[in-house]
Structure formats: structure tokens, C-alpha cells
């Protein structure tokens, strides 16, 4: 009895205190339940997902399919450092090689959880993983999240679990619709996944010092100038 009451009080204190924490530290994980606890690609083709109170059928994934690097976008471009820009205002992602834009599409970023801004690096790519979090009507539990690229920086640790990934449970891109991650159409997520570094070697690919991950710049606005890299505008409130 005493344990239950003390647990309840502690939970209340934590809940109230969390309201006063600086926003960059809240939530602690993009996916509050699953966070990151499995760094291997996982496929659960028999499972049914839950999102927005609805059952959703995940895509059937066969990990035995070839996973060799495709570099679809890189084949025709060549030079320059790869970089991904996410514009939170226009809900758009851009892929650059040097100063050349080679891919652009709409995304869905944080609605129920904020998408942190800044420059990040991809540290692991998973062909498929499970993500879960939220509570009540907001609860979600999604197996087979495809083409997931987790990124981090010195303020947002790897354990926070922010990523770019395919989203098969909604199609509302161009509008905020995630719990903090950057959602893409599955076909667009695959395009970026096949192109971004580290080059895909298996269904789980870690970045190393020899094979670093592509930089992901998440910006409040992305501004463009002919012949030069886009500039990432981050507002002071972040």
C-alpha cells in the first residue's frame, strides 16, 4: 500500500516537474514506449499495428531480399558531400550532393511531439523496426516501420530515437503528423535510405568513423541561393 502511494506521488511529482523542463529535453524518446531497445532490424509480418485507434496492416518485409547498396540518386550525380535538409515550415525534405539538389519530397514531422532542430548525423540504418508510444487515443504500436535512419547530435542523444523513416499508417504528408520523427512515404523513404550514408551493407548498418553517416539538418526554414548550399534557419525559440 505504502509502495503504491509513494509510486503515485512520485509519478505526479515527475509529471508536474516535466511540464517545467526545457522543451529540448521533452520527450525523452521520440517513441515513448519503444524508445530504442533493439538495434537489429526486426520484421513482424504477422503483427497488426495500431494508430489513431485503428488497426493497420504493416507492409510484408522479406529481409532475405538483396540489401546491397543501390545509391539510386548518387549514380547520376557524383561529386559533393551528401546532406539532407528538413524544412519544418514547408514540411519538405531535400537531398543534396554538393550544391546540387537531387531529391525533394513532402514529409510529416512532429505534431504530438516536437521534432528537434539542428544538425544531426545518421548513426544507424534499420531496414525495419517497431515503434510504439503515446497513450489513450494517442497510443500507437507499429511493427515493420520501414527504412529507418536514426540520427543524433550532442544535444539529442542516440537513445532519444529520432529518425527519418517510412510511414505506412497515414498519408498526410506536407502536414505535421508524427510524434517527433520525420515521416516519409514508404517509396520516398526507400529512395533516401538507399542513397544516404553509411552505404547499406545489410538490414542493420552502423555508421563508423571510416563510413560516417549523412548529415541531417532539421531547420525551421531552409533558404536557397543559386550555386551554393542551402542555409538552415533555426529560430531562437529552439
Amino acid at each position: 500500500m505504502y509502495y503504491s502511494i509513494s509510486t503515485l506521488v512520485a509519478s505526479l511529482v515527475f509529471a508536474v516537474a516535466s511540464l517545467f523542463l526545457p522543451r529540448p529535453f521533452f520527450p525523452f524518446c521520440a517513441n515513448s514506449v519503444s524508445c530504442i531497445h533493439n538495434l537489429n532490424a526486426t520484421v513482424e509480418n504477422e503483427e497488426v499495428g495500431v494508430f489513431a485507434g485503428q488497426q493497420v496492416t504493416p507492409p510484408q518485409i522479406n529481409l532475405a531480399e538483396a540489401t546491397a547498396t543501390k545509391n539510386v540518386l548518387g549514380e547520376t550525380t557524383g561529386d559533393g558531400e551528401k546532406r539532407i535538409y528538413v524544412d519544418l515550415t514547408t514540411q519538405t525534405v531535400y537531398a543534396y550532393e554538393g550544391t546540387t539538389e537531387i531529391f525533394k519530397t513532402l514529409v510529416a514531422t512532429g505534431k504530438w511531439g516536437r521534432t528537434p532542430t539542428g544538425d544531426f548525423k545518421i548513426w544507424v540504418k534499420l531496414r525495419s523496426t517497431r515503434m510504439s508510444g503515446g497513450s489513450g487515443a494517442d497510443y500507437y504500436n507499429l511493427p515493420n516501420v520501414p527504412y529507418t535512419m536514426f540520427y543524433y547530435n550532442d544535444k539529442v542523444p542516440k537513445s532519444a530515437g529520432y529518425s527519418l523513416h517510412g510511414a505506412y499508417w497515414h498519408n498526410n504528408f506536407g502536414h505535421e503528423m508524427s510524434h517527433g520523427c520525420v515521416n516519409l512515404r514508404e517509396v520516398d523513404a526507400q529512395t533516401l535510405y538507399d542513397w544516404a550514408d553509411p552505404a547499406t551493407e545489410s538490414n542493420t548498418t552502423h555508421a563508423t568513423s571510416e563510413k560516417p553517416g549523412t548529415i541531417v539538418s532539421v531547420c525551421n526554414r531552409v533558404e536557397f541561393q543559386e550555386g551554393s548550399l542551402p542555409s538552415c534557419v533555426i529560430e531562437a525559440a529552439n
Binding site: 494508430f51 507492409p59 513532402l106 506536407g174 517509396v187
Partner: protein, 228 residues
């Protein structure tokens, strides 16, 4: 006194001269303004020629070729294709008319399946929005853009009718039947496989609540979360 007979030779000579003279007179009396066949085929700088025809100031209208727009489903296995054909050009009394036809192909059935066709007058157009496909690839919606509204129509990707035998769902009509306090502002996309997101407008253009339209039940759910 006896007359000497008229020599026959002289008679023939006179006859010949008369015949030649008559021929000359007839020849000179013919209309020389008509060119002969030979002169008509021999080019001559002195022969009057009509000026070369030049294009008129208003060219003959040409109906543009049909155009096609394709949009792949989220899983990359189905394609929605829109064919746009100008069926008649604008005249002084009628606007331009276009026919829009929507087809679906799948990776297992590459033959185009006609799902919907509609003819509209300019300036109305039709389009496939970015979020057209339902997340499960089983439905899609297309939009008709008029100067005053954007109307959305939902279809089964299979081309089959809905449970009430209707070939499509007119989102505007369903919304107006069930919601009277607000007007439909926009359809943004899909929240889930069968839930279409609708944003509404309150009086004096204030933001109204967001709704989900369940396309299987044709029911609307008012949301506490705004998707504006």
C-alpha cells in the same frame, strides 16, 4: 465576138489566195487576251501572278495533345494515372471543355482499369493530390478545382462501388449533409487507412474543428486535435 474560156489554172490560184486571205482575217479576229496552253506553262517575269498566300493574323486553333499524370501508391505497387484531353476549344459562346479520365494499374495487373471519367468546362480543372492514395493503397481521392472551391471525390482503387452502390464519395456532399455549423475548408490526406482528414471553417473564416471521414461508413468524427 467570141469570149475566151477562163483558164482553170488561174481559177485555182485565185481560190488559194482567197482561202489564205480568209484564214489570215479569221486568225487576226480571235481574242488574243487568252494565253495559249504553251504560254501558260512557261514562266515569265512578265506574266502577272497572284501574290503568294500568307498566314492569316488569327491562326487556325489546334487542339493540344492529351497529357498524362501518374502518381504511385505509398507501397510503390499501384499507379493512379490521369489522362487529360481537351475535347473542345473555347469559342465566343462556350468555354474550353476537358475530359479527365482516371485509371489504375497494379504490379500484378498492368492493364489500365478505368475508374472514373468527368468532363469539365474551363476554368475548372482536376488533379491528383500528393496524399491521394490511402495508406493501405485501397482507396484514393482526386480533386476538382473550381474558382470557388476544391471538391474531393473518394474511390475504391479496385474500381468497385461502395457498400451503398455509389461509385464514389463526394466529400463535400457528405460533409454538408452531416455538419451544419461549419463549412468544409480542405481535405489534407489520410490519418489512417480509411480515415480522411477534413479541416473546417467557422463563421467569419475562423478555423473550425477537424474531422475524420470514415470512407467505409461515410461517418464523420469531430476531433479534439486540430489538423489545421
Amino acid at each position: 465576138m467570141m469570149m475566151r474560156p477562163f483558164p482553170l489554172k488561174i481559177f485555182f490560184v485565185v481560190l488559194l489566195i482567197l482561202g489564205l486571205g480568209l484564214g489570215v482575217v479569221i486568225g487576226m479576229s480571235q481574242d488574243t487576251s487568252k494565253p495559249s496552253f504553251i504560254s501558260s506553262i512557261v514562266p515569265s517575269p512578265f506574266v502577272f501572278q497572284a501574290p503568294t498566300p500568307v498566314p492569316s493574323a488569327s491562326p487556325v486553333p489546334v487542339i493540344p495533345a492529351p497529357t498524362e499524370t501518374e502518381w504511385t501508391s505509398p507501397n510503390g505497387k499501384s499507379i493512379l494515372k490521369m489522362k487529360e484531353t481537351v475535347t473542345s476549344l473555347a469559342t465566343e459562346i462556350s468555354p474550353e471543355n476537358r475530359m479527365y479520365s482516371f485509371y489504375v494499374t497494379t504490379s500484378t495487373d498492368p492493364e489500365e482499369k478505368l475508374v472514373f471519367s468527368k468532363s469539365v468546362n474551363a476554368p475548372t480543372t482536376m488533379l491528383i493530390p500528393f496524399n491521394s492514395w490511402a495508406p493501405d493503397n485501397k482507396h484514393f481521392y482526386v480533386q476538382e478545382v473550381t474558382p470557388s472551391a476544391v471538391k474531393s471525390f473518394v474511390f475504391n482503387a479496385s474500381g468497385e462501388t461502395f457498400a451503398d452502390a455509389s461509385p464514389f464519395i463526394d466529400v463535400q456532399t457528405v460533409f454538408e449533409e452531416k455538419i451544419t455549423d461549419y463549412t468544409l475548408r480542405e481535405v489534407t490526406g489520410w490519418a489512417a487507412p480509411s480515415l480522411l482528414i477534413i479541416n473546417s471553417l467557422a463563421a467569419e473564416l475562423q478555423d473550425g474543428p477537424s474531422y475524420w471521414l470514415d470512407v467505409n461508413r461515410k461517418s464523420l468524427t469531430r476531433l479534439s486535435t486540430s489538423f489545421q
